[in-house]
Symmetry: C2
Subunit: 255 residues, 2 copies
Protein backbone atom coordinates (compact mmCIF):
# COMPACT_ATOMS: atom_id res chain seq x y z
CA UNK A 1 0.00 0.00 0.00
CA UNK A 2 1.55 3.28 -1.09
CA UNK A 3 2.07 6.01 1.53
CA UNK A 4 0.43 9.22 0.24
CA UNK A 5 1.83 12.69 1.06
CA UNK A 6 0.20 15.97 0.02
CA UNK A 7 2.39 19.09 -0.24
CA UNK A 8 0.03 21.99 0.26
CA UNK A 9 -0.28 25.54 1.59
CA UNK A 10 -2.70 28.32 0.64
CA UNK A 11 0.25 30.74 0.81
CA UNK A 12 1.83 31.16 -2.56
CA UNK A 13 5.52 30.77 -3.36
CA UNK A 14 6.60 28.82 -0.24
CA UNK A 15 8.36 26.01 -2.23
CA UNK A 16 5.52 23.48 -2.52
CA UNK A 17 6.59 22.46 -6.02
CA UNK A 18 10.31 22.62 -5.23
CA UNK A 19 9.70 20.36 -2.20
CA UNK A 20 7.56 17.84 -4.14
CA UNK A 21 10.24 17.45 -6.85
CA UNK A 22 13.24 17.50 -4.47
CA UNK A 23 11.78 15.24 -1.77
CA UNK A 24 10.43 12.87 -4.46
CA UNK A 25 13.87 12.76 -6.08
CA UNK A 26 15.60 12.09 -2.73
CA UNK A 27 13.22 9.24 -1.79
CA UNK A 28 13.65 7.67 -5.27
CA UNK A 29 17.43 7.97 -4.90
CA UNK A 30 17.40 5.54 -1.91
CA UNK A 31 15.52 2.95 -3.97
CA UNK A 32 11.89 3.61 -3.04
CA UNK A 33 9.41 3.61 -5.96
CA UNK A 34 7.88 7.08 -6.10
CA UNK A 35 4.91 8.55 -8.02
CA UNK A 36 4.54 12.34 -8.23
CA UNK A 37 1.09 13.77 -9.05
CA UNK A 38 0.74 17.40 -10.19
CA UNK A 39 -2.64 18.89 -9.18
CA UNK A 40 -1.80 22.52 -10.00
CA UNK A 41 -3.07 24.25 -13.17
CA UNK A 42 0.29 26.07 -13.25
CA UNK A 43 1.85 22.59 -13.91
CA UNK A 44 5.18 23.73 -12.43
CA UNK A 45 6.00 20.24 -11.12
CA UNK A 46 5.53 18.78 -14.60
CA UNK A 47 7.68 21.55 -16.09
CA UNK A 48 10.41 21.00 -13.47
CA UNK A 49 10.76 17.37 -14.62
CA UNK A 50 10.95 18.19 -18.30
CA UNK A 51 7.30 17.69 -19.29
CA UNK A 52 5.92 20.50 -21.50
CA UNK A 53 2.37 20.93 -20.05
CA UNK A 54 0.85 22.00 -23.35
CA UNK A 55 2.13 18.94 -25.18
CA UNK A 56 1.60 16.04 -22.75
CA UNK A 57 -0.94 13.43 -23.90
CA UNK A 58 -2.10 12.13 -20.50
CA UNK A 59 -2.60 14.42 -17.51
CA UNK A 60 -4.32 14.04 -14.13
CA UNK A 61 -7.24 16.01 -15.59
CA UNK A 62 -8.64 12.84 -17.19
CA UNK A 63 -8.65 11.02 -13.84
CA UNK A 64 -11.12 13.69 -12.61
CA UNK A 65 -13.15 14.44 -15.74
CA UNK A 66 -13.17 11.05 -17.54
CA UNK A 67 -12.57 8.61 -14.65
CA UNK A 68 -9.54 7.13 -16.41
CA UNK A 69 -7.48 4.82 -14.20
CA UNK A 70 -4.26 6.30 -12.84
CA UNK A 71 -2.25 3.41 -14.39
CA UNK A 72 -3.20 4.78 -17.82
CA UNK A 73 -1.79 8.19 -16.86
CA UNK A 74 1.52 7.74 -15.05
CA UNK A 75 4.72 7.72 -17.05
CA UNK A 76 8.42 7.31 -16.22
CA UNK A 77 10.57 10.42 -15.73
CA UNK A 78 14.29 10.82 -16.50
CA UNK A 79 14.91 9.80 -12.88
CA UNK A 80 15.19 6.12 -11.84
CA UNK A 81 12.34 4.97 -9.55
CA UNK A 82 10.42 8.20 -10.20
CA UNK A 83 7.18 8.28 -12.23
CA UNK A 84 4.93 11.27 -12.85
CA UNK A 85 1.32 12.14 -13.65
CA UNK A 86 1.59 15.62 -15.17
CA UNK A 87 -0.97 18.42 -15.14
CA UNK A 88 -1.99 21.29 -17.42
CA UNK A 89 -4.10 24.45 -17.32
CA UNK A 90 -7.34 22.42 -17.61
CA UNK A 91 -7.04 21.77 -13.86
CA UNK A 92 -8.80 25.13 -13.54
CA UNK A 93 -11.83 23.47 -15.15
CA UNK A 94 -11.59 20.53 -12.70
CA UNK A 95 -11.72 23.01 -9.80
CA UNK A 96 -14.98 24.46 -11.18
CA UNK A 97 -16.61 21.10 -12.13
CA UNK A 98 -15.78 18.91 -9.12
CA UNK A 99 -18.14 20.49 -6.55
CA UNK A 100 -21.17 19.67 -8.75
CA UNK A 101 -20.66 15.94 -8.17
CA UNK A 102 -21.76 13.88 -5.15
CA UNK A 103 -18.88 12.83 -2.84
CA UNK A 104 -16.50 14.77 -5.11
CA UNK A 105 -13.85 14.92 -2.38
CA UNK A 106 -13.30 11.13 -2.69
CA UNK A 107 -12.44 11.12 -6.42
CA UNK A 108 -8.66 10.79 -6.02
CA UNK A 109 -8.85 8.35 -3.10
CA UNK A 110 -11.26 6.14 -5.04
CA UNK A 111 -8.88 6.16 -8.03
CA UNK A 112 -5.98 5.11 -5.78
CA UNK A 113 -8.03 2.30 -4.22
CA UNK A 114 -9.51 0.94 -7.46
CA UNK A 115 -6.35 -0.78 -8.81
CA UNK A 116 -2.94 -2.11 -7.71
CA UNK A 117 -0.54 0.79 -7.11
CA UNK A 118 3.13 -0.33 -7.66
CA UNK A 119 4.65 2.55 -5.65
CA UNK A 120 5.99 2.92 -2.11
CA UNK A 121 5.36 6.69 -1.94
CA UNK A 122 2.99 9.06 -3.73
CA UNK A 123 3.65 12.83 -3.46
CA UNK A 124 1.00 15.33 -4.58
CA UNK A 125 1.84 18.96 -5.48
CA UNK A 126 -1.13 21.24 -4.70
CA UNK A 127 -2.11 24.71 -6.00
CA UNK A 128 -2.07 27.78 -3.67
CA UNK A 129 -5.88 27.61 -3.33
CA UNK A 130 -7.96 25.71 -0.74
CA UNK A 131 -10.64 24.45 -3.11
CA UNK A 132 -12.08 21.10 -4.23
CA UNK A 133 -8.77 19.93 -5.76
CA UNK A 134 -6.72 20.45 -2.58
CA UNK A 135 -9.56 18.89 -0.53
CA UNK A 136 -9.30 15.82 -2.79
CA UNK A 137 -5.56 15.55 -2.19
CA UNK A 138 -5.96 15.73 1.61
CA UNK A 139 -8.77 13.17 1.58
CA UNK A 140 -6.45 10.74 -0.24
CA UNK A 141 -3.40 11.41 1.99
CA UNK A 142 -1.77 9.85 5.02
CA UNK A 143 0.35 12.97 5.66
CA UNK A 144 0.16 16.67 4.78
CA UNK A 145 3.49 18.50 4.53
CA UNK A 146 3.08 22.31 4.69
CA UNK A 147 6.14 24.13 3.36
CA UNK A 148 6.34 27.42 5.29
CA UNK A 149 8.55 30.48 5.02
CA UNK A 150 9.59 32.07 8.31
CA UNK A 151 7.68 35.23 7.34
CA UNK A 152 4.55 36.97 8.60
CA UNK A 153 2.04 36.16 5.81
CA UNK A 154 3.22 32.56 5.63
CA UNK A 155 2.78 32.01 9.35
CA UNK A 156 -0.63 33.65 9.27
CA UNK A 157 -1.64 31.19 6.48
CA UNK A 158 -1.26 28.30 8.94
CA UNK A 159 -4.50 29.41 10.61
CA UNK A 160 -6.54 28.62 7.47
CA UNK A 161 -4.54 25.43 6.93
CA UNK A 162 -5.34 24.14 10.42
CA UNK A 163 -9.04 24.82 9.91
CA UNK A 164 -8.89 22.95 6.59
CA UNK A 165 -7.25 19.97 8.33
CA UNK A 166 -10.07 19.95 10.90
CA UNK A 167 -12.69 20.01 8.10
CA UNK A 168 -11.00 17.15 6.18
CA UNK A 169 -10.68 15.06 9.34
CA UNK A 170 -14.38 15.66 10.17
CA UNK A 171 -15.69 14.97 6.66
CA UNK A 172 -13.55 12.36 4.91
CA UNK A 173 -10.17 11.47 6.45
CA UNK A 174 -9.96 11.28 10.27
CA UNK A 175 -6.42 9.86 10.24
CA UNK A 176 -4.82 12.74 8.28
CA UNK A 177 -1.62 13.91 10.03
CA UNK A 178 0.46 17.02 9.27
CA UNK A 179 4.02 18.38 9.53
CA UNK A 180 5.46 21.86 8.88
CA UNK A 181 8.64 22.23 6.82
CA UNK A 182 10.67 25.45 7.03
CA UNK A 183 11.76 26.42 3.51
CA UNK A 184 13.80 29.19 1.85
CA UNK A 185 15.38 29.83 5.24
CA UNK A 186 18.09 32.47 5.61
CA UNK A 187 20.06 31.99 8.86
CA UNK A 188 21.43 35.56 8.63
CA UNK A 189 17.94 37.11 8.61
CA UNK A 190 16.70 38.21 12.04
CA UNK A 191 13.00 37.83 11.10
CA UNK A 192 13.59 34.29 9.83
CA UNK A 193 15.34 33.31 13.06
CA UNK A 194 12.64 34.85 15.29
CA UNK A 195 9.73 33.39 13.32
CA UNK A 196 11.42 29.98 13.25
CA UNK A 197 11.62 29.96 17.06
CA UNK A 198 7.97 31.04 17.25
CA UNK A 199 6.95 28.14 14.99
CA UNK A 200 8.79 25.56 17.07
CA UNK A 201 7.22 26.92 20.28
CA UNK A 202 3.69 26.91 18.83
CA UNK A 203 3.79 23.66 16.86
CA UNK A 204 6.47 21.66 18.82
CA UNK A 205 6.81 18.19 17.25
CA UNK A 206 4.53 19.34 14.41
CA UNK A 207 7.60 21.00 12.84
CA UNK A 208 10.00 18.72 10.96
CA UNK A 209 13.58 18.74 12.24
CA UNK A 210 14.89 19.09 8.66
CA UNK A 211 15.06 22.65 7.41
CA UNK A 212 15.69 23.87 3.83
CA UNK A 213 17.88 26.94 3.47
CA UNK A 214 17.99 29.42 0.58
CA UNK A 215 20.07 27.89 -2.25
CA UNK A 216 20.08 29.41 -5.71
CA UNK A 217 20.84 25.98 -7.20
CA UNK A 218 17.13 25.22 -6.57
CA UNK A 219 16.27 27.98 -9.05
CA UNK A 220 18.48 26.31 -11.66
CA UNK A 221 17.34 22.67 -11.45
CA UNK A 222 13.82 23.26 -12.90
CA UNK A 223 15.48 24.83 -15.95
CA UNK A 224 17.54 21.64 -16.36
CA UNK A 225 14.33 19.57 -15.93
CA UNK A 226 15.73 17.38 -13.13
CA UNK A 227 15.53 17.27 -9.31
CA UNK A 228 18.29 19.04 -7.39
CA UNK A 229 20.19 15.82 -6.55
CA UNK A 230 20.80 15.20 -10.25
CA UNK A 231 21.56 18.84 -11.09
CA UNK A 232 23.85 19.61 -8.14
CA UNK A 233 24.39 16.44 -6.07
CA UNK A 234 26.77 18.05 -3.53
CA UNK A 235 24.80 21.28 -3.03
CA UNK A 236 23.51 22.29 0.40
CA UNK A 237 19.89 21.86 -0.76
CA UNK A 238 20.58 18.32 -2.05
CA UNK A 239 21.97 17.39 1.38
CA UNK A 240 19.05 19.05 3.16
CA UNK A 241 16.38 17.40 1.01
CA UNK A 242 18.15 14.02 1.49
CA UNK A 243 18.00 14.55 5.26
CA UNK A 244 14.29 15.40 4.91
CA UNK A 245 13.72 12.20 2.89
CA UNK A 246 15.34 10.15 5.66
CA UNK A 247 13.23 11.88 8.33
CA UNK A 248 10.04 11.15 6.38
CA UNK A 249 11.00 7.49 5.74
CA UNK A 250 11.70 7.04 9.48
CA UNK A 251 8.40 8.78 10.37
CA UNK A 252 6.48 6.40 8.09
CA UNK A 253 8.17 3.34 9.64
CA UNK A 254 7.09 4.45 13.11
CA UNK A 255 3.43 5.12 12.26
CA UNK B 1 -13.48 58.76 -12.46
CA UNK B 2 -11.10 56.54 -10.47
CA UNK B 3 -8.29 54.75 -12.32
CA UNK B 4 -8.50 51.03 -11.46
CA UNK B 5 -5.40 48.81 -11.25
CA UNK B 6 -5.44 45.04 -10.59
CA UNK B 7 -2.33 43.43 -9.12
CA UNK B 8 -2.52 39.80 -10.20
CA UNK B 9 -0.47 36.75 -11.12
CA UNK B 10 -1.36 33.04 -10.94
CA UNK B 11 2.18 32.44 -9.63
CA UNK B 12 2.23 32.45 -5.88
CA UNK B 13 4.58 34.51 -3.71
CA UNK B 14 5.69 37.08 -6.30
CA UNK B 15 4.86 40.15 -4.10
CA UNK B 16 1.30 40.90 -5.29
CA UNK B 17 0.19 41.90 -1.79
CA UNK B 18 3.45 43.69 -0.99
CA UNK B 19 3.11 45.69 -4.22
CA UNK B 20 -0.56 46.58 -3.62
CA UNK B 21 0.21 47.93 -0.12
CA UNK B 22 3.50 49.64 -1.05
CA UNK B 23 2.36 51.18 -4.34
CA UNK B 24 -0.92 52.25 -2.73
CA UNK B 25 1.00 53.86 0.13
CA UNK B 26 3.36 55.66 -2.28
CA UNK B 27 0.52 57.07 -4.42
CA UNK B 28 -1.34 58.23 -1.27
CA UNK B 29 1.88 59.89 -0.03
CA UNK B 30 1.86 62.29 -3.02
CA UNK B 31 -1.68 63.37 -2.23
CA UNK B 32 -3.80 61.13 -4.47
CA UNK B 33 -6.87 59.57 -2.83
CA UNK B 34 -6.40 55.80 -2.93
CA UNK B 35 -8.74 52.85 -2.24
CA UNK B 36 -7.25 49.37 -1.77
CA UNK B 37 -9.53 46.37 -2.26
CA UNK B 38 -8.50 42.93 -0.96
CA UNK B 39 -9.94 40.10 -3.07
CA UNK B 40 -7.83 37.29 -1.58
CA UNK B 41 -9.25 34.81 0.95
CA UNK B 42 -5.81 34.89 2.60
CA UNK B 43 -6.59 38.57 3.45
CA UNK B 44 -2.88 39.41 3.58
CA UNK B 45 -3.42 42.96 2.35
CA UNK B 46 -5.92 43.58 5.14
CA UNK B 47 -3.51 42.09 7.67
CA UNK B 48 -0.62 44.22 6.34
CA UNK B 49 -2.61 47.38 7.12
CA UNK B 50 -3.55 46.34 10.63
CA UNK B 51 -7.00 44.87 9.98
CA UNK B 52 -7.59 41.53 11.75
CA UNK B 53 -9.51 39.59 9.03
CA UNK B 54 -11.51 37.52 11.52
CA UNK B 55 -12.75 40.60 13.36
CA UNK B 56 -13.60 43.10 10.61
CA UNK B 57 -17.31 43.97 10.33
CA UNK B 58 -17.46 44.89 6.63
CA UNK B 59 -15.50 43.03 3.96
CA UNK B 60 -15.63 42.88 0.18
CA UNK B 61 -17.50 39.58 0.52
CA UNK B 62 -20.79 41.45 1.04
CA UNK B 63 -20.34 43.40 -2.21
CA UNK B 64 -20.42 40.03 -4.02
CA UNK B 65 -22.88 38.02 -1.92
CA UNK B 66 -25.31 40.72 -0.68
CA UNK B 67 -24.87 43.45 -3.33
CA UNK B 68 -23.98 46.01 -0.68
CA UNK B 69 -22.64 49.28 -2.10
CA UNK B 70 -18.86 49.73 -1.85
CA UNK B 71 -19.39 53.03 0.02
CA UNK B 72 -20.83 50.99 2.89
CA UNK B 73 -17.68 48.86 3.01
CA UNK B 74 -14.62 51.09 2.66
CA UNK B 75 -12.99 52.46 5.77
CA UNK B 76 -10.00 54.73 6.49
CA UNK B 77 -6.61 53.17 7.27
CA UNK B 78 -3.87 54.56 9.51
CA UNK B 79 -2.42 56.16 6.39
CA UNK B 80 -3.58 59.56 5.14
CA UNK B 81 -5.41 59.43 1.76
CA UNK B 82 -5.56 55.62 1.94
CA UNK B 83 -8.85 53.74 2.47
CA UNK B 84 -9.37 49.98 2.47
CA UNK B 85 -12.05 47.36 1.81
CA UNK B 86 -10.74 44.31 3.70
CA UNK B 87 -11.32 40.64 2.95
CA UNK B 88 -11.61 37.41 4.92
CA UNK B 89 -11.64 33.66 4.32
CA UNK B 90 -15.26 33.78 3.05
CA UNK B 91 -13.81 34.91 -0.31
CA UNK B 92 -13.39 31.18 -0.95
CA UNK B 93 -17.19 30.95 -0.90
CA UNK B 94 -17.45 33.88 -3.35
CA UNK B 95 -15.15 32.01 -5.75
CA UNK B 96 -17.51 29.00 -5.68
CA UNK B 97 -20.79 30.99 -5.84
CA UNK B 98 -20.02 33.63 -8.49
CA UNK B 99 -20.01 31.39 -11.61
CA UNK B 100 -23.62 30.36 -10.93
CA UNK B 101 -24.83 33.88 -11.68
CA UNK B 102 -25.46 35.46 -15.08
CA UNK B 103 -22.81 38.04 -16.14
CA UNK B 104 -20.96 37.29 -12.88
CA UNK B 105 -17.77 38.79 -14.24
CA UNK B 106 -19.32 42.27 -14.17
CA UNK B 107 -20.17 42.27 -10.44
CA UNK B 108 -17.28 44.48 -9.31
CA UNK B 109 -17.42 46.80 -12.31
CA UNK B 110 -21.17 47.32 -11.79
CA UNK B 111 -20.53 48.12 -8.11
CA UNK B 112 -17.90 50.70 -9.09
CA UNK B 113 -20.22 52.31 -11.65
CA UNK B 114 -23.34 52.38 -9.48
CA UNK B 115 -22.32 55.25 -7.15
CA UNK B 116 -19.91 58.22 -6.93
CA UNK B 117 -16.37 56.98 -6.15
CA UNK B 118 -14.35 59.68 -4.29
CA UNK B 119 -10.93 58.17 -5.16
CA UNK B 120 -8.28 58.92 -7.77
CA UNK B 121 -6.83 55.38 -7.77
CA UNK B 122 -8.23 51.96 -6.85
CA UNK B 123 -5.75 49.07 -6.40
CA UNK B 124 -7.02 45.48 -6.18
CA UNK B 125 -4.96 42.66 -4.60
CA UNK B 126 -5.79 39.31 -6.26
CA UNK B 127 -5.38 35.68 -5.09
CA UNK B 128 -2.90 33.33 -6.84
CA UNK B 129 -5.75 31.63 -8.72
CA UNK B 130 -7.23 32.55 -12.12
CA UNK B 131 -10.88 32.04 -11.22
CA UNK B 132 -14.08 34.11 -11.17
CA UNK B 133 -12.75 36.57 -8.57
CA UNK B 134 -9.63 37.50 -10.56
CA UNK B 135 -11.75 37.68 -13.74
CA UNK B 136 -13.97 40.19 -11.93
CA UNK B 137 -10.98 42.33 -10.99
CA UNK B 138 -9.65 42.41 -14.56
CA UNK B 139 -13.08 43.24 -15.98
CA UNK B 140 -13.23 46.26 -13.66
CA UNK B 141 -9.67 47.45 -14.37
CA UNK B 142 -7.94 49.95 -16.62
CA UNK B 143 -4.52 48.36 -15.98
CA UNK B 144 -3.20 44.97 -14.84
CA UNK B 145 0.17 45.01 -13.06
CA UNK B 146 1.79 41.54 -12.95
CA UNK B 147 4.50 41.31 -10.29
CA UNK B 148 7.05 38.78 -11.58
CA UNK B 149 10.14 37.22 -10.09
CA UNK B 150 13.08 36.71 -12.48
CA UNK B 151 12.77 32.95 -11.99
CA UNK B 152 11.73 30.05 -14.22
CA UNK B 153 8.26 29.21 -12.82
CA UNK B 154 7.33 32.87 -12.58
CA UNK B 155 8.23 33.56 -16.19
CA UNK B 156 6.37 30.44 -17.32
CA UNK B 157 3.26 31.75 -15.48
CA UNK B 158 3.13 34.70 -17.88
CA UNK B 159 1.87 32.35 -20.58
CA UNK B 160 -1.37 31.67 -18.66
CA UNK B 161 -1.61 35.33 -17.73
CA UNK B 162 -1.45 36.46 -21.36
CA UNK B 163 -4.17 33.99 -22.32
CA UNK B 164 -6.33 35.30 -19.47
CA UNK B 165 -5.82 38.89 -20.70
CA UNK B 166 -6.96 37.79 -24.19
CA UNK B 167 -10.09 36.15 -22.71
CA UNK B 168 -10.96 39.22 -20.61
CA UNK B 169 -10.48 41.55 -23.59
CA UNK B 170 -12.68 39.31 -25.77
CA UNK B 171 -15.44 38.87 -23.19
CA UNK B 172 -15.80 41.96 -21.06
CA UNK B 173 -13.02 44.57 -21.15
CA UNK B 174 -11.38 45.26 -24.55
CA UNK B 175 -9.38 48.22 -23.23
CA UNK B 176 -7.52 46.31 -20.46
CA UNK B 177 -3.78 47.08 -20.63
CA UNK B 178 -0.96 45.32 -18.75
CA UNK B 179 2.54 45.94 -17.40
CA UNK B 180 5.10 43.57 -15.82
CA UNK B 181 6.89 44.58 -12.62
CA UNK B 182 10.12 42.84 -11.61
CA UNK B 183 9.99 42.13 -7.87
CA UNK B 184 12.26 40.57 -5.24
CA UNK B 185 15.17 41.17 -7.59
CA UNK B 186 18.71 40.26 -6.52
CA UNK B 187 21.31 41.99 -8.71
CA UNK B 188 24.01 39.58 -7.53
CA UNK B 189 22.10 36.54 -8.76
CA UNK B 190 23.07 35.33 -12.25
CA UNK B 191 19.67 33.75 -12.92
CA UNK B 192 17.86 36.93 -11.96
CA UNK B 193 20.05 39.03 -14.29
CA UNK B 194 19.65 36.61 -17.22
CA UNK B 195 15.88 36.22 -16.79
CA UNK B 196 15.48 40.00 -16.43
CA UNK B 197 17.18 40.55 -19.80
CA UNK B 198 14.98 37.84 -21.34
CA UNK B 199 11.84 39.56 -20.03
CA UNK B 200 12.84 42.94 -21.46
CA UNK B 201 13.61 41.36 -24.85
CA UNK B 202 10.29 39.48 -24.97
CA UNK B 203 7.96 42.10 -23.52
CA UNK B 204 9.84 45.36 -24.43
CA UNK B 205 7.74 48.35 -23.27
CA UNK B 206 5.40 45.92 -21.48
CA UNK B 207 7.93 45.83 -18.63
CA UNK B 208 7.90 48.77 -16.21
CA UNK B 209 11.19 50.66 -15.91
CA UNK B 210 10.91 50.59 -12.10
CA UNK B 211 12.27 47.45 -10.48
CA UNK B 212 11.90 46.31 -6.84
CA UNK B 213 14.96 44.68 -5.28
CA UNK B 214 15.09 42.29 -2.34
CA UNK B 215 14.77 44.30 0.90
CA UNK B 216 14.13 42.60 4.21
CA UNK B 217 12.41 45.77 5.50
CA UNK B 218 9.44 44.68 3.32
CA UNK B 219 9.13 41.58 5.53
CA UNK B 220 8.94 43.82 8.59
CA UNK B 221 6.36 46.42 7.53
CA UNK B 222 3.36 44.01 7.49
CA UNK B 223 4.16 43.12 11.10
CA UNK B 224 4.01 46.85 11.94
CA UNK B 225 0.69 47.09 10.03
CA UNK B 226 1.82 49.99 7.80
CA UNK B 227 3.18 50.43 4.25
CA UNK B 228 6.95 50.47 3.82
CA UNK B 229 7.17 54.29 3.46
CA UNK B 230 5.84 54.68 7.00
CA UNK B 231 7.87 51.82 8.50
CA UNK B 232 11.21 52.62 6.82
CA UNK B 233 10.89 55.86 4.81
CA UNK B 234 14.57 55.94 3.66
CA UNK B 235 14.84 52.24 2.78
CA UNK B 236 15.74 51.11 -0.72
CA UNK B 237 12.29 49.59 -1.21
CA UNK B 238 10.54 52.82 -0.17
CA UNK B 239 12.54 54.70 -2.80
CA UNK B 240 11.84 52.03 -5.43
CA UNK B 241 8.10 51.90 -4.75
CA UNK B 242 7.99 55.73 -4.84
CA UNK B 243 9.68 55.62 -8.26
CA UNK B 244 7.09 53.05 -9.35
CA UNK B 245 4.26 55.29 -8.14
CA UNK B 246 5.63 58.18 -10.20
CA UNK B 247 5.95 55.95 -13.28
CA UNK B 248 2.34 54.80 -12.88
CA UNK B 249 1.01 58.34 -12.33
CA UNK B 250 2.87 59.50 -15.49
CA UNK B 251 1.54 56.47 -17.44
CA UNK B 252 -2.03 57.32 -16.43
CA UNK B 253 -1.60 60.97 -17.48
CA UNK B 254 -0.47 59.88 -20.92
CA UNK B 255 -3.31 57.43 -21.57
N1 LIG C 1 15.38 26.89 -0.87
C1 LIG C 1 15.25 27.70 -1.93
N2 LIG C 1 16.23 28.57 -2.23
C2 LIG C 1 16.10 29.42 -3.28
N3 LIG C 1 15.04 29.46 -4.09
C3 LIG C 1 14.03 28.61 -3.85
C4 LIG C 1 14.07 27.67 -2.77
N4 LIG C 1 12.92 26.94 -2.79
C5 LIG C 1 12.19 27.41 -3.83
N5 LIG C 1 12.86 28.39 -4.49
C6 LIG C 1 12.39 29.22 -5.62
O1 LIG C 1 11.36 30.05 -5.10
C7 LIG C 1 10.28 30.15 -6.02
C8 LIG C 1 9.01 29.63 -5.34
O2 LIG C 1 9.09 28.22 -5.15
P1 LIG C 1 7.93 27.24 -5.69
O3 LIG C 1 7.46 27.70 -7.02
O4 LIG C 1 8.40 25.86 -5.54
O5 LIG C 1 6.81 27.56 -4.59
P2 LIG C 1 5.27 27.10 -4.62
O6 LIG C 1 4.81 27.11 -3.22
O7 LIG C 1 5.17 25.81 -5.36
O8 LIG C 1 4.59 28.29 -5.44
P3 LIG C 1 3.03 28.32 -5.93
O9 LIG C 1 2.27 28.83 -4.73
O10 LIG C 1 3.03 29.29 -7.09
O11 LIG C 1 2.66 26.93 -6.34
C9 LIG C 1 10.68 29.34 -7.24
O12 LIG C 1 11.20 30.23 -8.20
C10 LIG C 1 11.76 28.40 -6.72
O13 LIG C 1 12.70 28.08 -7.70
N1 LIG D 1 11.25 43.02 -2.36
C1 LIG D 1 11.11 42.13 -1.37
N2 LIG D 1 12.17 41.83 -0.59
C2 LIG D 1 12.05 40.91 0.41
N3 LIG D 1 10.92 40.26 0.71
C3 LIG D 1 9.83 40.53 -0.02
C4 LIG D 1 9.84 41.48 -1.09
N4 LIG D 1 8.59 41.54 -1.62
C5 LIG D 1 7.84 40.66 -0.92
N5 LIG D 1 8.57 40.06 0.05
C6 LIG D 1 8.15 38.99 0.97
O1 LIG D 1 7.98 37.81 0.18
C7 LIG D 1 6.81 37.09 0.59
C8 LIG D 1 5.87 37.01 -0.60
O2 LIG D 1 5.32 38.27 -0.89
P1 LIG D 1 3.71 38.48 -1.00
O3 LIG D 1 3.04 37.71 0.06
O4 LIG D 1 3.47 39.93 -1.09
O5 LIG D 1 3.46 37.79 -2.41
P2 LIG D 1 2.03 37.43 -3.07
O6 LIG D 1 2.27 37.35 -4.52
O7 LIG D 1 1.02 38.39 -2.58
O8 LIG D 1 1.75 35.97 -2.46
P3 LIG D 1 0.38 35.12 -2.65
O9 LIG D 1 0.53 34.44 -3.99
O10 LIG D 1 0.39 34.13 -1.49
O11 LIG D 1 -0.75 36.09 -2.59
C9 LIG D 1 6.23 37.85 1.77
O12 LIG D 1 6.68 37.22 2.95
C10 LIG D 1 6.82 39.25 1.63
O13 LIG D 1 6.98 39.87 2.87
MG1 LIG E 1 3.86 25.33 -6.95
MG1 LIG F 1 -0.87 37.99 -1.71
Amino acid sequence: MAYVISIANEKGGVAKTTTTVSLGGAIAEVGQRVLLIDLDAQANMSLALGFEPGKVANTIVSAFLENRPLSALWQPSQVENLSVIPSNSEMGLVERMLPTRPAYEETLRRALQSEPIPFDFILIDCPPFLGAVTFNALTASNLLIMPTQAEYFSIYALRNMMSLIRRVRAKSNPRLTYRLLLTMFDRRNRIHRTMNEQLHTTFESGVLTSLIEIDTKLRESPIAGVPIMLHAPKSRSSLQYRALAQEIIDYVKET
